[in-house]
Amino acid sequence: MTRSTVALCAALLLVAAAPRAAAAGARARAHVDTAGEQDCASCHRTETPAAFAAWEGSPHGVALVKCVVCHGSTGKDFRARPAAKGCASCHAAQAASVEKRPVSDCFACHAPHSLSAHPHR
């Protein structure tokens, strides 16, 4: 994988990280070939440092809920912009309460990657 393709991939992920983009849809974009890489962090620690640091310092990062949980593999199922409906599979009660709120979805309040937690009243 060349540096430029990594950078392109990084740009896509950063776009995906914007709440509005995530809300806009969950259409998967192809991930670059990662054969020979050890894990997501091998590239993303340096290529998308802001997103990586936000995740690593988050509750998801502490509990090692890693990239694949939301983004899928780097194959055909790769989701550059994970849909907020995926949150419900772990946080069903909180996700259900979103429907009663004047917000588009989870990412309206929880910035992707940092996904800070707070009580849903």
Binding site: A63, L64, K66, A88
Partner: protein
């Protein structure tokens, strides 16, 4: 894994509340969940034993979701929610295989089982029952392990029955038994929710037990002034939540644990009334010492001396002891393979128990010594079920005449059927295969040709001329099935029914969701078939695992494990039950030895706790001196070598490596190095390095990581192509017979 200091961690968790949700409950649905049929089950992976539901459609497993009513509160780790992918993996074995020369070729069940029966009969007839052996697994279902144990010990009449729990928790067993007289933890996962101090040693729970770790993190975030101490030579992901992290030279932890006890006495953090009422003191194998003897033994373990030996800081040892013993606070210890996989593993276990005993921090919510377990049914199936070479079901011992007589009666076999001499423990069994004493071996649901230490030696033994090896396995090829003479396709996880017992004495039913793939059969059926062919069909007469379960409950009745109240129906409707649970109306027992909770403690017991496991009703504080690892670094092999897990993979990777999301996540075993060691070898991350021990040599890619300890190389155990166990030491603990996977000496050069 990157590091995060305490300030960053607290910042990250500042907004946390009781509702904070970590972990992963299930993946986004590929189909509308309402279209699926949901069956209650348990995760196939680690000893945490997370409850889940299996979602099926058109006879296929398509999704899982966490069981919100179970201890895991609906959370699964990333491996757990990817489980559906392993069921239809391309390397599922769909039909029996028989070796013809260098090849394994397809055969019918009849052909394969006839051959197996003939070879076992021949070995037994010519060389006696001890010429055969069974090597089982902490991943088999309880009914499967029970069937194998009964067939081999009461039918064939050999005690050559052992299993891979010998590699992972035998030292924890011997630790509990020597200290309390009975095996298994007295506490439960719920203790985490009440713990003021948590003390983790030799455990990377963040990766090896992620859902328990989630609970620890939640307690840290939501409890008041919760302190976490992590002790491990490597600064792992677990240490990210530590208030105090202590690194030390591998093999010096016995000294550190004695140093903690020294400080507890020196600072009067002990509970003298508890000591007087409930404890005995011992050395070697006899509990014939006094408190004064023990204090004299501890005199040598001053924080300064321990620091000089271990490389830890004296003030950190003092702080850890103060937090452990603080009056009015609760303390829970958790440990895993870092203590168990050692030539002094039993002693290390004893020393953790000592800390709880002298402080009286035991048998109270939040105060308990809790060993974490690696496999989903190591406790329930092999450990409790007595399927090791020296044990019989539910706390009975082969060498105990009364216990043998009890089992002979329960099993309806003539007196004298059970052989009085313990059989061969795991490595002894493979060594007997090596030297030709063992002629035929049955391996069920595990992969020893990858997971045994000094693996090349035992790989050769498995292919020794004249040895006959049967492997029942859901996948092929594995590093073991490729060496077998017969490979039988085993049903996997959701394809069969049975009971798993996890690390906290919780027994749970896995219900069948789908038909077995191809011609695969549950191990339970395969073993019943074998029994019929060997003329022991009457011993394994059951039509279903449920019938066997009724016999298992009867065999456990009246023992310290008594779970007679766990009927099949109750297991079906519950979300896990903790033994003892002697009658149907009993709720189960969160804390053993505790009056008012444990049904085996009389209501009129004089105190809150009764250590009924020993004749004097006292737990033993053992004086166990510091001993180094069997193999230490020297001029020729100057680096320490240790092995372990990563979160993405499990055991030998036969399942997790079939998940597409995990194929490019820590798929390959690499040599994790400290930057100074990499520089000394002239390598950078990604460069190939040859790591060599006295037993073997493997080329890994180097990877410089933040948390590495200078002078220590770490490699994970999940890669069949770069097997860390070619290097590990097969020296064993003399009591538990558990090998020292965790420490040996290596040299490393650029390849």
């Amino acid at each position: 894994m990157g590091s995060m200091n305490r300030r960053e961690f607290l910042k990250a968790s500042a907004a946390a509340s009781a509702l904070v949700a970590l972990g992963s409950r299930a993946q986004a649905a590929p189909a509308d969940p309402k279209d699926l049929t949901w069956t209650k089950s348990v995760c196939r992976y680690c000893g945490t034993g997370c409850g889940l539901y299996v979602g099926t459609k058109d006879g296929r497993v398509v999704q899982v979701k966490g069981d919100t009513e179970n201890h895991n509160a609906g959370f699964l780790c990333l491996k757990g929610f990817l489980l559906p992918q392993v069921m239809a993996a391309p390397d599922r074995l769909l039909h029996p295989l028989i070796r013809k020369g260098d090849k394994l070729v397809q055969a019918s069940w009849e052909e394969a089982m006839s051959l197996v029966a003939a070879r076992f009969k021949e070995a037994i007839g010519t060389h006696g029952p001890d010429a055969v052996g069974f090597y089982g697994s902490g991943q088999g279902l309880t009914e499967e392990t029970y069937a194998a144990n009964k067939l081999f010990k009461a039918g064939i009449r050999t005690n050559n029955v052992d299993g891979n729990p010998r590699l992972c928790m035998a030292s924890a067993v011997a630790g509990y038994v020597s200290t309390y007289g009975k095996d298994e933890p007295m506490g439960c996962y719920e203790d985490v929710d009440h713990a003021d101090t948590m003390f983790l040693i030799g455990s990377n729970a963040a990766e090896a037990h992620p859902v328990i770790f989630r609970r620890i993190v939640k307690r840290k975030q939501t409890g008041k002034d919760v302190k976490i101490v992590v002790m491990d030579p490597r600064r792992t992901a677990t240490s990210r939540i530590a208030d105090l992290y202590i690194s030390f030279t591998p093999g010096t932890d016995l000294a550190i644990l004695n140093g903690l006890a020294h400080v507890l006495f020196a600072e009067n953090l002990v509970d003298e009334a508890f000591i007087a009422k409930h404890l005995a003191f011992g050395e070697g194998t006899e509990a014939n010492k006094t408190l004064a003897d023990y204090r004299a033994f501890l005199a040598d373990y001053t924080p300064e001396k321990v620091a000089a030996l271990s490389g830890a800081k004296a003030e950190d040892i003092v702080t850890a002891a103060r937090w452990f013993g603080a009056k009015g606070r609760t303390t829970m210890s958790m440990w895993c393979m870092g203590l168990n996989q050692r030539t002094k593993g039993v002693w290390a276990n004893n020393l953790v128990h000592n800390l709880h005993l002298v402080t009286g921090k035991i048998g109270l919510p939040g105060s308990t010594p809790f060993s974490l377990t690696g496999q989903p049914n190591a406790c329930g199936g092999v450990r409790d079920g007595g399927a090791l070479s020296h044990t019989l079901p539910y706390g009975r011992l082969v060498a105990n005449e009364k216990h043998r007589a009890e089992m002979e009666k329960l099993w309806g076999v003539p007196a004298g059927t059970l052989a009085p001499k313990p059989g061969l423990a795991t490595l002894d069994m493979f060594r007997a295969l090596e030297d030709g004493k063992l002629k035929a071996m049955w391996i069920m649901c595990t992969n020893p040709a990858q997971s045994l230490p000094n693996a090349d030696r035992y790989r050769k033994a498995l292919r020794r001329e004249g040895a006959f090896v049967v492997v029942t396995e859901a996948f092929h090829p594995t590093r073991t099935s490729e060496l077998a003479d017969v490979v039988l396709p085993a049903a996997l996880w959701a394809e069969k029914e049975g009971v798993y017992g996890c690390g906290e004495r919780r027994y749970q039913l896995l219900e069948k969701s789908v038909k077995p793939a191809g011609e695969a059969r549950p191990d339970f059926e395969i073993l019943c078939d074998l029994a019929r062919r060997l003329g022991h069909g009457a011993l394994l007469p059951w039509k279903t695992p449920a019938e066997a379960w009724d016999e298992v409950r009867a065999v456990a009745r009246g023992t310290a494990y008594d779970f007679h109240g766990m009927t099949r129906e109750r297991l079906r409707t519950s979300h896990g039950l903790l033994w003892p649970l002697p009658a149907e109306g009993h709720p189960g027992t969160n804390r053993r030895y505790v009056k008012g909770e444990d049904p085996l403690v009389p209501a009129d017991a004089p105190d809150r706790i009764l250590f009924y496991g020993r004749p004097d009703k006292r737990a033993v504080v053992w004086a166990r001196p510091q001993k180094p690892a069997e193999e230490v670094v020297d001029a020729e092999y100057p680096l320490w070598y240790t092995t372990g897990r990563v979160i993405e993979h499990w055991h030998t990777g036969t399942m997790t490596r079939n998940c597409k999301e995990l194929r490019q996540a820590n798929y390959e075993s690499v040599a994790e190095l400290h930057a100074d060691d990499a520089a000394a070898a002239g390598v950078k991350s990604g460069d190939p390095v040859r790591v060599t021990s006295r037993r073997g040599s493997v080329v890994f890619k180097a990877r410089v990581v933040d948390g590495a300890r200078r002078g220590l190389v770490f490699v994970h155990m999940h890669d069949p192509d770069r097997m860390c166990n070619r290097l590990t030491n097969d020296a064993v603990d003399p009591v538990s017979r558990q090998p020292e996977f965790k420490i040996c000496a290596v040299k490393l050069v650029k390849a």
